[in-house]
Amino acid sequence: MNNFFKTLLDRLLRRRRKVKIGLYGHPNSGKTTLANTICEDWIGKPLGVISDIPHETRTVYKQEEVVIEKDGAKLYFDIIDTPGVATKVDYKNFLKYGLSEREAKERAKEATKGIIEAIKWLDDVTGVLLVMDSAEDPLTQANITIIGNLEARKIPFLIIANKIDLPESSADRISAVFPQHTVVPISALHRENIEQLYMEMVKRFR
């Protein structure tokens, strides 16, 4: 009987501690690659499909009950992989990736719906990994809008300086632009510094 109550209490506490972590950022910043790395490490299977063509993720993907364990501390959470946020979607940009005009237009239409869905999810997430391509200029309207909304809603977040494996990458540039926030440099694709990210996640979101 004691065991029963202990298990019940543990489940209740776990439920209370569980957070919903949204992966936000520009299209092609590596959100789904990171979501896949996290899911492969902790539940043994990837979450979504990745591609070089921007706006590959055009709807929200969710994995429930992910548990990260670091130095004896556990973080229970649902992972929410959101479509990339942008202020413009031009179907002509997809044509250079070999898509037909019909496919490109369809992709653009779906991408606009995905961006609306991503913004709506800001009402539901309790923590955010804001993924930035560290080879690109971080000072964009999409990043500014996401950070502004997270600050206004008091949602804890980490800035992920992704793609540090690229020669032109600079995580320092991101830190210089957002000095008041924690920046974690990683390569989700090559798993560089991933253990450090897990440590920061447990520290920030638990």
Binding site: T87, D90, I119, Q141, T145
Partner: protein, 122 residues
């Protein structure tokens, strides 16, 4: 479009408008091809609402979205010990018109595309 139209709006012109009114006014003008220069900035929730509304208004062929840029300025705190950045100007225009933007501290340079020619705005 025959030329580039730019509208400059003082913070006074916006202060009595609700968020929905501000966003509707911006989208309406930008869809007409205008570039808007606002004194000050939108709130984070207005920015999010502007992106959402933009996505609803994109019609693939004629309106592909917006570009937003801000010019920040350093402001000293009351006692002058620390500086904080505030947004002095917000520039919003159609994405297919605002082509090149170079940004440095206290300086913003923009090339707007009109047909086959370009207009430079500093």
């Amino acid at each position: 479009m025959e030329g580039l139209k730019m509208d400059f709006l003082s913070s006074k012109a916006l202060e009595d408008k609700s968020s929905i009114e501000k966003v509707s006014m911006i989208i309406e003008r930008v869809k007409d091809g205008d570039i808007l220069v606002l004194e000050g900035s939108l709130t984070p929730s207005e920015e999010a609402e502007l992106i959402e509304t933009t996505m609803r208004e994109i019609d693939i062929e004629n309106f592909v979205g917006i570009d937003i840029h801000t010019l920040e300025k350093d402001e000293k705190s009351f006692f002058g010990f620390s500086k904080k950045k505030t947004i002095g100007l917000t520039i919003i225009g159609p994405a297919n018109v605002m082509k090149t933007v170079k940004k440095r501290s206290n300086f913003l340079s923009m090339i707007a595309k009109i047909g086959d020619s370009g207009a430079s705005v500093h």
